[in-house]
Amino acid sequence: MPAVTATLALIIFTAGTIAGGLGALLGLGGGVFLVPLLNLVLGFPFSAAAAISLTTVIATSSTVSAGRAGKQLINMKLGMLLEVATAAGSFLGGVTAQFVSQSLLQRLFGVVAVIVALIMLSRLRHRNVILDPAADSGVLGGRYHEHESGCTVTYRVKRLPLAVAASFVAGNVSSLLGIGGGIIKVPVLNAWCGIPLRAAAATSAFMIGVTATAGAIIYYGHGQLEPALAAAAVLGVQLGSWGGMKFGAAASTKWLKILMAAVLFIVSAMMFMRGGR
């Protein structure tokens, strides 16, 4: 790993700001951009890149969820149930990451980057809501007030085992690759489990803090996390996602999504070229 200099700290801070800003604009964590920046562009070992990225994921999850808590948008009961699965997946991923080669992780990242790009390009937009405020949401369902429509949205959770399985896979991928894993959970929760997109995204962002912590503890304890560089990345991502949320609401994200999907295809190709050596 390169030595910590003011220049390197500034570069990583900037990389974090860009990744955090893009993440907030696209509704992602930003890790999917930060890991390749650190690994492919700056030449960090994959595990060091993943470790730094996971710390930024924890910070983003905590900040975003703190702002949303109290508004009933996060389905905390569902989140805490699914955390049992994501934390287990994340623990296993963090342990596995210590035994598999960097080239295998790079190829796996290449596969996941393509999946993320495809999901981004074909995002499903079902509503899955019951517009009857008196409807019974069941034990795990939820109810929140939607400002745009002025309605109280009620929903039930369907196909819970599928949500649990998706959470386990997301947790596993998260600590192996240093990304949040929301991009895997949110489409499943939204398209197949009956959870409205905004509630699915908020609940996923809430869970990701625990998921990333289970992985990051292992990297940190193993000495693969350089605190000074993680500090630069965390502060950068905080600034970037703040900016992205503040100025992103007005921006049209359609072309940004297409552009970033193209970037992810290139990232994927580069990961395969590096990993194939």
Binding site: S61, G67, G70, Q72, M76, V84, A231, L235
Partner: protein
């Protein structure tokens, strides 16, 4: 398991835990990073940086502990058990980290 949704008061408690954790950890990380760049490292900078990372990692853990306590107080044993399992999984990660640290 109770069918009651999470109360707004409990949500606010969780929000406070997360907000405080991020604020404390960001402050330590920023101070540590600036000090480390100004002095070229040293024990005080390393202490601040590691404190910032540990507080960052401890924030979601604290949130899980607070949730477990809340569900025990509410006598919602199903969710108390689930959050306690999550806590055990986080402890397992810490134990795994110590094992790797010893062996390698």
């Amino acid at each position: 398991m109770s069918a009651e949704r999470t109360s707004p008061r409990f949500e606010r408690v969780i929000g406070t835990v997360l907000r405080t954790g991020v604020a404390l950890s960001s402050t330590c990380l920023m101070a540590g990073l600036l000090l480390s760049l100004a002095t070229g490292g040293g024990a005080p900078a390393a202490f601040l940086l590691n404190a910032g990372i540990i507080i960052l990692l401890a924030t979601p853990v604290t949130r899980v502990i607070v949730s477990t306590v809340e569900y025990v107080i509410e006598r919602d044993w199903g969710f108390a058990t689930l959050t306690f399992i999550v806590l055990l999984e986080l402890v397992a990660s810490a134990v795994a980290a110590l094992v790797f640290n010893r062996k390698l």
